[in-house]
């Protein structure tokens, strides 16, 4: 574990069941792709912690290397990388995001 960002990332994704590395904050996303994931998580009522990579250059670069994934946003559930905007969107549309979160013990709204 040579990258000092990795330790911070690991402690964050272990301490918080759902973490979204994003540009901007959940209230003020500064990128359309990040905004879309925030919208989906809010829609299904899943509580999450947003980490604004624009405020932290070390995390911004480190997270790409950590997940071996070149873009942001990145969603983590119980320490595991789930995907970026496209994957979260596809899983949501297929109903898989909701069922995966439930299985992982994350509270989500039941769709009426």
């Amino acid at each position: 574990m040579s990258n000092p960002a990795f330790e911070r990332i690991e402690s964050d994704i272990k301490a918080n069941p759902v973490v979204l590395y994003m540009k901007g904050t959940p209230v003020f996303p500064q990128c359309g792709f990040s905004a879309r994931v925030v919208q989906i998580l809010s829609h299904i009522g899943a509580p999450f912690k947003g980490v604004n990579v624009l405020e932290d250059a070390e995390i911004r670069e480190g997270i790409k290397e950590y997940a071996n994934w070149p873009t942001i946003p990145q969603l983590y559930v119980n320490g595991e990388f789930v995907g970026g905007c496209d994957i979260v969107m596809e899983m949501f549309q297929a109903g898989e995001l909701q069922s995966m979160l439930k299985e992982q013990g994350i509270p989500v709204k039941d769709e009426g």
């Binding site: 540009k23 990128c31 070149p70 970026g84 905007c85 994957i87 899983m91």
Partner: protein
């Protein structure tokens, strides 16, 4: 002169044969945003339909596409929206 879109098509064709590929340059929609460059060629939407994706998870498919396009990420490709389907999934719509 080859555009980045041309290079994306060429790289994906090489990595996922036989593939049907559609690339859209969305850079103009993101002009003046973070990651945009005056010369454009930063934001793309790509759809690839290939039997090479059969049996692969969403993350594995995306990672394979990212790897195929590593040279583009290294030279200013900033955002890449991916739709990666097998021919069967594409036929289902």
């Amino acid at each position: 002169m080859q555009t980045r879109a041309d290079r994306i098509v060429a790289a994906l064709t090489r990595c996922f044969p036989p593939a049907e590929i559609a690339v859209v340059d969305d850079s103009h929609k993101h002009a003046h945003h973070a990651g945009a460059r005056a010369e454009g060629e930063t934001h793309y939407s790509v759809q690839v339909v290939s039997p090479a994706f059969a049996g692969q998870s969403r993350i594995a498919r995306s990672r394979a596409a990212h790897a195929a396009l590593a040279a583009e990420f290294a030279t200013g490709l900033h955002a890449l929206s991916l739709k990666l389907l097998t021919p069967e999934e594409a036929a289902r719509g």
